[in-house]
């Protein structure tokens, strides 16, 4: 298991997760979100290639109501 920080919360995930498989495991449709990994915005086609590492900071954002 490795420790990552996802949307401001500590999370233990099993080794070998990619961004895509992490999103899948938390039931998030990759088409509806934007992902930032260690302050870098990822393109959607990079999700399958990027393996999550110990200490990664991941932000998953979307649009909400606002003025």
């Amino acid at each position: 298991m490795i420790q990552v920080r996802l949307n401001g919360k500590d999370l233990s995930v099993s080794n070998g997760h990619t961004i895509r498989s992490l999103l899948q495991s938390i039931e998030i449709n990759p088409l509806g979100v934007v992902v930032e990994l260690n302050r870098e915005i990822l393109t959607r086609d990079a999700y399958s290639d990027l393996e999550i590492k110990e200490g990664d900071k991941i932000e998953v954002v979307h649009f909400v109501g606002g003025g």
């Binding site: 401001g8 915005i41 393109t43 649009f63 109501g65 003025g67």
Partner: protein, 272 residues
């Protein structure tokens, strides 16, 4: 009976007005509305439709991983039906605003951003230094920046120089509903800028929207005035009418005001 159950006429007569053009994109409606603070997503969508707004603002936030709170707004708002204008609301530095703008653009809808950098918690007045700094960087990155600012002419000029595609002075503080507190400065900004001027924030009711448009500005942006009305859908219709009314009055050219009475009926021809 709700307003969505019958049709709502009141349109700008064809040929009288040009479209609102923002960085090459044309909009028929001069009203832009926010999507925050509605009691439900259904009311929000009904209100936006009643307002006839084509451009709607949205915010960028973390997905709630517990799914107990906010649902993604795009489940309710069809990006084919509405032009999404992402904002940087909640940001207090240029750096944060740039980060939020980049995240918004990565969602893949368009390159427009409503740049908002707050400088004071209590009044939500903008931090103009950070706003100008962020505007320069974002414009260089190809963003179509629509910058929320105060009603200060010099700041508005600097934002135009920074490459903003629209400058958006406030009518009064965000969410205050106080209406246009300084119509003279709004007019002065409109007179001096070449890019569209859209009054953003502070409109409380239909007369405020009308007065705003009578100043000759290109558009008006509001959120709370609709979302916090007792009947948001009805208020949205009122705002649509008021925006058109104010625009028409501006185009018609108002009479000169006098601080004396001038009779409307002839003085001659009176009986002995």
């Amino acid at each position: 009976m709700t307003l969505t159950e019958f049709d709502m006429p009141v349109e700008m007569p064809k040929g009288l007005d040009s479209p609102l053009e923002l960085a090459g994109v044309n909009f028929t409606s001069r009203l832009i509305v926010g999507t925050g603070k509605y009691a439900s997503n259904e009311i929000m969508v009904d209100a936006i439709r009643a307002s006839a707004a084509e451009m709607v603002t949205v915010a960028v936030r973390r997905v709630d991983l517990d799914r107990t709170k906010e649902e993604a707004i795009l489940h309710h708002l069809d990006p084919e039906e509405f032009f999404l204008l992402a904002n940087t609301a909640g940001c207090y530095t240029a750096e944060d605003a740039i980060r939020y703008a980049r995240l918004a653009r990565a969602a893949g809808f368009n390159e427009f951003v409503k740049l908002e950098v707050i400088g004071d918690d209590k009044t939500l007045l903008p931090d103009v230094q950070h706003t100008i700094e962020a505007a320069k960087i974002l414009a260089n990155e190809g963003f179509k920046v629509m910058a929320y600012t105060n009603d200060d002419l010099v700041t508005a000029l600097r934002l135009e120089d920074a490459g903003c595609v629209a400058v958006m002075p406030l009518a009064s503080p965000i969410g205050s509903g106080l209406g246009v507190v300084n119509p003279y400065f709004i007019r002065e900004i409109k007179r001096r800028l070449e890019v569209p001027v859209i009054v953003d924030a502070g409109v409380g009711t239909a007369s405020d929207a009308c007065i705003t448009m009578e100043q000759g500005v290109d558009g008006v942006l509001m959120n709370t005035a609709l979302a916090a009305a007792k009947d948001p859908v009805q208020m949205a219709h009122a705002m649509k009418c008021a925006t058109i009314s104010g625009r028409l009055a501006f185009l018609a050219g108002r009479m000169t005001s006098h601080e004396i009475a001038v009779p409307s009926s002839p003085k001659v021809g009176m009986l002995d």
